[in-house]
């Protein structure tokens, strides 16, 4: 049912029409007075009967004419008022119907016997003449009262009832029916039904439901894949490592026990075998470490990064030619202590590994920036070409071949995972042969960071 807006300005100037009619009547009367001369007729009649004198007649006429005039005027006013009231009601009805039609709200009035007393014109356009039809026949094409009928309930409880229906005749259009019971002037109970189209809402609800189902399926899939991953981690950490250890150690024993039976190249190959077994072990350990970030959640506590950093430096025990300086006081953050340790461990180890100069310098700093702590670890090492920046933070991405460098290439990936888990980000700025600065941020607010007095900007000399 679509509503076509129409012109609702019904009255044009009726006063003009009325004045024209009055003027015409006056003209006719005037002509009749000239043709039939009524005064002469009266006088003639009077002279024949001689009842009243002329004076009495004039007085009677003088009284009668205003009385007649007043009564006419009175009648006319009353009639006119009545007509105007009727017109106003009609106009109001049309305006209400127009408004209801425009809102796609159907309106009907039904009595306790389910007879339709009123139905708005827009409905009639679709359903036709309601005369003599019960509401369930007219709207639903049924022979009996609909199940869960709102009219029955509204009349029983004498309170507004809201139900939902599907209009079969209109391609199952869903509507919400608000049934309002009321008494008319004679005291009879009726209901007014306000029928609002809820197609859009239903569609949105269905979409949401289907989206929910999809989401549920995704969650299940993820849970399963997560469980499989857990399983894999378990297998990797034990079942894969046991035979690996056997290979590594047996190779070692072969070298010890039968080394003198091999030539130099044979011994070299067994040594390579031992080395590769060690590397697989390191890779598995790295993967496990990477996997555990975010999967095993430790206690969140206040972590003073100054203490963390000095402990990490002590543990790393950097070679004598490398000096690590802390340029500004570090903040205290709320988080997992060992994750913070892992960040600095990996960044510092990485910096130390790539310093080939006789004097190495590593500077650690922190500034406050846009609600974040921005940390920097700056070295004067070999630096990285810009085209490798993207690869740097990926798992097992190494910029050198396995035989040339130690480590598994997972350290920076772990740093990235931890930092992103805490809502920060990590990036690098570097120039080949001049050094690199690794930056990472941690949000001040979310992590409940305690204040630290540091506004000094890091100046990392390059």
């Amino acid at each position: 049912m679509r509503y076509e807006p129409k012109n609702c300005n019904l009255k044009r100037s009726k006063t003009f029409r009325k004045s024209t009619v009055i003027a015409a009547v006056a003209v006719v009367l005037f002509i009749l007075a000239i043709v039939f001369k009524p005064a002469e007729i009266v006088l003639t009649w009077h002279q024949a009967h001689e009842k009243w004198g002329v004076d009495e007649l004039i007085i009677a006429a003088l009284i009668l004419v205003p009385v007649l005039y007043i009564s006419l005027l009175w009648n006319w006013t009353v009639l006119h008022k009545d007509k105007r009231a009727k017109q106003e009601i009609e106009t109001l009805k049309q305006q209400i119907e127009f408004i209801i039609g425009a809102t796609k709200t159907g309106l009907d009035i039904i009595d306790s016997q389910f007879n339709i007393r009123y139905i708005d014109p827009e409905w009639q356009k679709v359903y036709g003449d309601p005369t003599g039809k019960k509401c369930y026949e007219y709207f639903m094409g049924r022979n009996e009262v609909c199940q869960g009928c709102g009219i029955v309930k509204a009349l029983e409880t004498k309170s507004i009832t809201v139900t939902e229906e599907v209009l079969v005749k209109e391609n199952n259009r869903p509507i919400q029916v608000t049934t309002i019971p009321f008494q008319d002037s004679s005291g009879e109970w009726l209901v007014a039904e306000v029928n609002v189209d809820i197609s859009e809402r239903k569609k949105a609800e269905e979409e949401m439901e289907s989206m929910n189902r999809k989401l549920q399926a995704t969650v299940e899939e993820l849970t399963q894949s997560n469980n499989e991953l857990q399983e894999f981690v378990h297998v990797a950490s034990h079942d894969l490592k046991t035979p690996l250890r056997a290979i590594g150690i047996l190779a070692n024993w072969i070298l010890t026990d039968y080394g003198d039976k091999f030539d130099e190249s044979g011994r070299e190959r067994v040594k390579l075998l031992v080395g590769r077994a060690k590397r697989i072990d390191e890779l598995i350990n790295g993967l496990l470490q990477y996997f555990r970030v975010g999967h095993t959640r430790g206690k969140y506590e206040e972590v003073d990064l100054n203490i963390v950093l000095s402990e990490v430096i002590r543990e790393i025990a950097p070679p004598e030619n490398i000096e690590i300086t802390i340029q500004s006081e570090l903040p205290t953050v709320i988080g997992e202590q060992r994750r913070m340790v892992q960040i600095f461990q990996n960044l510092l180890n990485n910096a130390i590994k790539y310093i080939e100069k006789p004097r190495g310098e590593i500077k650690v700093g922190c500034v406050e920036e846009d609600g974040f702590w921005k940390f920097s670890v700056c070295d004067n090492g070999s630096g990285i070409e810009q085209k490798y920046f993207g690869k740097l933070f990926k798992v097992f991405q190494k910029l050198e071949s396995h035989d040339e460098s130690e480590g598994t290439g997972i350290g920076l990936a772990i740093v990235k995972k931890i930092v992103e888990l805490y809502g920060g980000r990590v990036w690098v700025e570097s120039r080949p042969r001049e050094g690199s600065t690794f930056f990472f941020t941690l949000p001040k607010k979310e992590m409940g960071v305690k204040d630290a007095k540091l506004e000094t900007n890091i100046a990392c000399g390059r």
């Binding site: 378990h234 950490s237 034990h238 079942d239 490592k241 046991t242 690996l244 250890r245 056997a246 590594g248 150690i249 047996l250 070692n252 024993w253 031992v274 077994a277 060690k278 697989i280 072990d281 350990n285 496990l288 555990r292 095993t296």
Partner: protein
């Protein structure tokens, strides 16, 4: 080691048992090494009258039948057996395992190294410690 009682190794992997045996041999540890293949066997060994009580138990965690943690629960609930120091010797680096076994009062937790020399180092440290430390011997 400080006393001459045997060391009990609870380990299902034959080669891992070989490694421990050889490492102890290389370290000139003279204590006898008793080997059981899982927790159930180990309990039976410990409860059997004929067997000498071990001074130290080296325990693997991931084993068939009765695993390491289950073994620990049984042993630590036993008034006599719970005095024997137990050092976990496992491939597992799971933090969960570390926490759980220490809750069950293990004396140490060593992750088996892939490198034999490191394995020998680890065994050296363990035996050295138990050369210095007193054992709760009195029965």
């Amino acid at each position: 080691m400080r006393n001459s009682k045997p060391i009990l190794l609870v380990e299902d992997d034959r080669l891992d048992a070989m490694i421990v045996r050889r490492a102890l041999n290389d370290l000139k540890v003279t204590n006898e090494l008793a080997h059981t293949g899982d927790g159930k066997e180990a309990i039976e060994y410990l409860r059997s009258e004929g067997n000498p009580k071990p001074c130290l138990i080296l325990l693997d965690l991931n084993m068939p039948k009765t695993n390491g943690v289950e073994f620990l629960r049984i042993v630590k609930a036993d008034e006599v057996l719970k005095r024997t120091p137990i050092v976990v010797l496992t491939a597992s680096t799971e933090e969960q395992d570390v926490i759980e076994t220490f809750k069950l009062s293990v004396a140490g937790y060593i992750v088996k190294p892939v490198d034999y020399m490191k394995f020998v180092e680890a065994m050296r440290t363990v035996t050295l410690y138990w050369t210095l430390s007193e054992f709760p011997d009195g029965e």
